[in-house]
Structures are given as structure tokens and as C-alpha cells.
Symmetry: C2
Subunit: 388 residues, 2 copies
């Protein structure tokens, strides 16, 4: 199992969080580049989201049926996401990906599911990166392809033969412990074409990227629309919620699959989601996040150059990762992350970071002030050549 543990200088406990900053149990304030591992897209404790959640809390949360806001949210999703003709709700990203797979099997009467080698789709036996407690049968019908490799995908489709239920794919390759890799538009189109040809369901796992890169789905800019999409993290700015959306042709299969949970009607997270999606639709939040991410990337690039350090910055600028050249075990990245966190910038050496719309230009500049010193410390210790 790949463990993604952080340094002992990373605070383990968080006592308070607002905007793009939080306070650790040691009383120190940190500028945050992880956003609660993704959910916080507008900033911690965003006032409009908080207000909507508080209002719904006064009415009711976990009750015997749906609150009217569930319909409002479903309609908002269908209006926002071009591939969505319907929506259903859950609590974890894993609930959403697992439900997508189950719907695909129900719809096709087939069993085989293809995922990319190393891709993370959740933490239950059919997909968890761990091996402990997992049986061979849990993964009996899961086969793999190489991300961005059309030939490899084609071969996996051939191996599945007439039993292919679904291809599950992330908007970009964001596996831990490797540089990130954007989707090749030709690869994305090939996924769609192979699903069309075989009748398998195309499942876009937009749990991590959804509502951060592009409102209507992370492959909308590529013009590639899934049959089913799994959503969670950013959709309610930190309130626990997940969703599956799908095309009309899969509505009956979705209705026929038995899924439920004690808190799946909980209305507060849905009110928070309506407020979050409304804010994302009606403001320039996504544009500002993109701009802040670019400013961070440019700044880090310049700093690394200045300190004679060769770095790779990969992934979308809103979900960036910085690694060091010639650092296969992430030793330097881990030390750099530690130097950053001791200077009050919380980021991760091997897992993509997340920006939020609360990151202003001046926050980014404050972050860069501190990473400058972190690079300097690394340059001193690895003997990097500073042109100065």
C-alpha cells in the first residue's frame, strides 16, 4: 500500500479554519494549499454557504424524506452539467463511483470494468489502493489500462470482449507519487468512442476535479461527455455530499439499483451545495482560482530557477503538484514540503494540492514569500547552484 503520510512538522490537528488559512493545535496559523483535501473550493467558512446551511439547519437536516432543496439541487445539477439528465445523492466519493459501476452493470447486464493503472477511485475493496482484507473476487472483473494510452485501453476493451460494462476514468492522471498528467484530448475521445462502439457506460470520476476545473464537468472543455459521472468533494464546499449524474438512457437502471444510506436525504449539505454551485456559476470564482494557481506556478518556477533547482510543476494550476527532477523517492520534495510547512505554508510532497477561490493574489504572494525561503533551504542542503 502506498502510504501518503506527511512530515512530523505537518500539523495533525486543526483547531480553526477560515478562508485559505487554518490554525493548528499548536496555535500556529498556516496558509493552506490542501483545502481539506479538495472539498473547500470557495474557502473555509464561506459566508454564503454557511448562511444557506444554517437556514436549512433551522428547518431540518436528517428527516424521513427529502427536503425540497433536494429537488432544487438535482435541477441545478442537471442545468449545470450538460451530460446530466438526472441526479442522485450520497455521502462519499466512493459511494458515487461504486454506484456508477453498479448502475453500469445493471444497465448492460455485463460485468467487466476498466480503470487506469494507479488511478484512485475510492477506498472499498473493488478499488482501494490497499490490499489488506481484500479478496481476489473483490476485483475479479476489474481490469486496467494505461492512462492516455489508446492502444493499452483498446487491448483492455478487447480482453473484456462482450462483457464490458464500463470504463471508469479520471479527468486527468492525479495518482499520488508521480507527476500529474493532463488528459490527451485524443485519449478522451477514444474512451468515448470505445464506449459507443461496445455499448459500455463511460464513467467520469469527477470526484476530485469536479466544480474546480470546469463547471459542467471536467471534460467539457474537451467536448467529451460521460454517460455517468461521480461527484463529491467540491460540490458543497466541505459539507458531506456526493452525487451521481447520468444520461436519460440510464435512468431506469439507476432506479433499479438498491443504494441508500441513513444520511442520504440530509438537507443541510444539499442547501450548502446549492449555495456553492450558485456562487461558482454566478461569480468569477473559477477564473480567480485559475489566475491564483497560475500566479503560484509562475512564482514557484521563478524561485526554483533562482535557486538553481530543477522542478516539475504538473496538473492543472488549480490542482498543482511540484516535484524535483532526479528525485524518484520524493526525498527532496518531502524536505521542501517540510521547509514550507515550518514556514507556515501547508502543502503536500506527493499528492496534488488544491487552490480555492479564497486564495487572493496577496495570499499567493505571501505563500511565495515563504516558499522562497524553503527553496533557499533546499538549495543550501542539496548544493543547488544559485545564480545570485
Amino acid at each position: 500500500m502506498t502510504r501518503v503520510l506527511l512530515s512530523e512538522d505537518h500539523p495533525q490537528y486543526v483547531t480553526e479554519a477560515h478562508g485559505c488559512r487554518f490554525t493548528g493545535a499548536d496555535g500556529r496559523e498556516y496558509l493552506d494549499l490542501m483545502c481539506g483535501w479538495g472539498p473547500v473550493v470557495l474557502g473555509y467558512a464561506h459566508p454564503a454557504v454557511r448562511r444557506a446551511a444554517d437556514e436549512q439547519t433551522r428547518l431540518g437536516d436528517c428527516v424521513n424524506g427529502a427536503a425540497p432543496v433536494m429537488v432544487e439541487l438535482a435541477e441545478l445539477l442537471v442545468d449545470t452539467v450538460p451530460s446530466a439528465d438526472w441526479a442522485m445523492f450520497a455521502k462519499n466519493g466512493t459511494d458515487a463511483t461504486t454506484t456508477c459501476v453498479t448502475i453500469a452493470r445493471a444497465a448492460t447486464g455485463r460485468r467487466k470494468v476498466l480503470t487506469a493503472h494507479g488511478a484512485y477511485h475510492g477506498a472499498v475493496p473493488w478499488c482501494t489502493p490497499g490490499k489488506s482484507g481484500v479478496t481476489v473476487e473483490d476485483r475479479a472483473h476489474v481490469d486496467h489500462f494505461e492512462y492516455n494510452d489508446i492502444a493499452s485501453l483498446g487491448a483492455a476493451v478487447d480482453r473484456a470482449g462482450g462483457d464490458l460494462a464500463a470504463i471508469v476514468v479520471c479527468p486527468f492522471r492525479h495518482d499520488v507519487r508521480r507527476d500529474q498528467e493532463l488528459a490527451d484530448p485524443e485519449f478522451a475521445r477514444a474512451v468515448r468512442a470505445l464506449c459507443n462502439r461496445t455499448g459500455a457506460a463511460m464513467i467520469l470520476d469527477d470526484v476530485r476535479c469536479g466544480f474546480r476545473l470546469s463547471l459542467g464537468g471536467s471534460w467539457e472543455p474537451l467536448g467529451v461527455r460521460p454517460d455517468l459521472a461521480a461527484w463529491s468533494k467540491a460540490m458543497a464546499n466541505g459539507y458531506a455530499l456526493a452525487a451521481v449524474t447520468g444520461i436519460a438512457a440510464l435512468r431506469d437502471a439507476a432506479s433499479d439499483v438498491y443504494v441508500t444510506g441513513s444520511f442520504w436525504y440530509s438537507a443541510v449539505s444539499m442547501a450548502a451545495s446549492v449555495a456553492t454551485l450558485t456562487e461558482l456559476r454566478e461569480t468569477d470564482a473559477l477564473v480567480r482560482m485559475d489566475r491564483a494557481g497560475q500566479r503560484l506556478r509562475d512564482g514557484l518556477d521563478a524561485q526554483a530557477k533562482r535557486h538553481g533547482l530543477e522542478v516539475n510543476q504538473t496538473g492543472p494550476v488549480q490542482m498543482p503538484l511540484l516535484t524535483f527532477a532526479g528525485d524518484p523517492e520524493f526525498t527532496v520534495a518531502t524536505r521542501w514540503a517540510r521547509e514550507a510547512v515550518t514556514r507556515g505554508v501547508y502543502l503536500h510532497p506527493t499528492h496534488n494540492w488544491f487552490l480555492s477561490a479564497a486564495h487572493t493574489e496577496s495570499d499567493i504572494d505571501e505563500i511565495l514569500d515563504r516558499t522562497e525561503d524553503a527553496f533557499a533551504a533546499i538549495a543550501r542542503s542539496v548544493g543547488g547552484l544559485s545564480p545570485n
Copy 2:
């Protein structure tokens, strides 16, 4: 698949909920006997729980790490539940049962898991009551026994042979569409003894009953303690939370299993849980709920008799079910539930109900006033003989 749909007179949407009452989208107020399908153990919008949740909301909910309240809650659980040496947290009851099974497999290196025929342990392929989208392999290592039947359990244990990882059992038989059945203490002891003999983990699925029947675990009154327990519903009075607790010997296996979720650190539900468990520990909430349940049972019994209707009231009084004799398809039960709901009492014809500590004697009497008329309507239509 067994569908548990309600009549068209049951409100599908809930606009507001307080104490043991809620308002439907039609503006009508209902006296509630479902408690959000179990989570609401102290009553909707309980002030102390709300206050704790609001305070934690001001600090932070979904952040990069744990809030201090996670440690507080883990310690409170370990202090409250005699079988718990540690605790871990999740979002759905299904997360908790699935994690228990995975830990048991990790600990034993074995695969077979036994559950009772018809028992509900969650809504993912290994255990869902549905068949759509489920493959044979999803259940390859799940075998079944008859609840309360020691011989049947022994036979299933024998079939598993040296490959038995766990026995999963509910505190009582609360399957839908049948009278409920309390656990025979001898059966409970046999589960424990068979796990001791084989080295399999004994998993108590206390998701539905936990913190409603008995604080330290629903089989504490029987003196039978599990190795792993799954909790959810009532533990945070409606805030989305689940937990696994276990014995010290399973701590390493639990640490080795890869499970996580984007909202598993969310602190608000944990603060709500600390407040809920504290209220349950420090007040007579459980005693009052028991008393209210008994008052309801006695009242319904007397009413049925008065109307010449033979009913079966089964399960613990806090989680009751009422069915009619000679009504195998629940036709009469469904009509009676409909007569009740049109009179403003929300209850279910085939799924156990839930009481909360917010149900006062006068609330129960008000419920009984209305069920009296519902029985009268049934007696008229089925030609039941009224002694009056």
C-alpha cells in the same frame, strides 16, 4: 428486490422538523414514529446537540486533519462501549459494516463471512438486498445462517471450515416485511463461542440499534461482547457519522486496512456525537424512551383488542413494529399505516419504527388518539368485531 415504499398519503417531502414532529410539504404537521429512519434519538433539532454542532461549525468542519473533538469522541466511545479499545470514523453505516468485514479478513487472512438470511447490513454489492448490478463474485465469500438458530449457524461455520473470517450479526432480527425477533441469549452466546473456537471475528452490526437500546452496545444486557462493532444512525442525533470500534487485538489489522473518505475528518458531526452521547449518558433519555415505547405498545394493544383486531407487536419497544395476524402480504398493515398517516401519525407498515427521547407521554397519548381512529377505520373495512 424488496421495495419498502410507502403509501401515497405518506408525505415524500419534509419542510421542517422539531422534537418528535415534522411538517410535510403540504403544510401538515405529523407526529413522527420514524425519527429520520433511526438517527434522531434525542428528537429533531435537539438544543444541546445543535449548540455543540454550531460551535464546531464556527471553528471548522472539513479541514486537512482531525479536529481535537475527534480524539474526544474516540475516548468517549472507548469509555462508553466496554468492547471498544479503539474507534475509527466514517460516514455511512455501510462504511462501518464493510470496514469491519475488511478488518476481519485482514486480521485472520481468511475470506468467509457469515450473515443471517434476510439481514440488512448495508447497500453495497457484498450485502445489498438488491440484485441489480451485483455480480456473483461480489458475494463469493458470503454465506448465511438462520437468525436465532444455533444449528444453522454451526452448519455455516462448518461450511466455512478454516476460512472463516467473521460472523456478522444484528442485535435482533429487524428484517423488513416480517415480525421482529429478539435475540435468544443462547444464540448470542453461541455466536461468541463459535468465534472464540474458530478465531473468526465477531462483528456486531449495531448501526440500527446502537445507542438506542443500551449505551455500551446492544448485546451488553446479554453479556455478549463483539470483537468489532459497526455504529452509525443514532450516534450523532442525525448528523452524518459512522464508527467502527474494536478490541485491542484487532488494532493492527484496523490500522493496516486502507479506508478513507473526503469527509471522514469532518468535525461538526463529531461534536454533535459527543453532545449526543453525553446527553444519553448523563440523562434518563434511554429510560424515558423505553417508557414511551411501552406506553405506545400497551396503548396499541388495548386499541386493537377493543376493535377486535389481532395484532403482533414485536421488537424492542423503542424500535417497534405492528403487524396484523393473517396478513402475510401486509395489506392490512399498509392500510392501517395509511389511515394513521392521514390522521397525522407517520409510521411504517413493514419496517421497524423508532422512538426518540423527545416522545413524551403526552405525545404518545396524542399518537394513540389518532391510531384509535385508524384501528376503527380498519375494523369497519375488514369487518373486525368491536366488543362495543
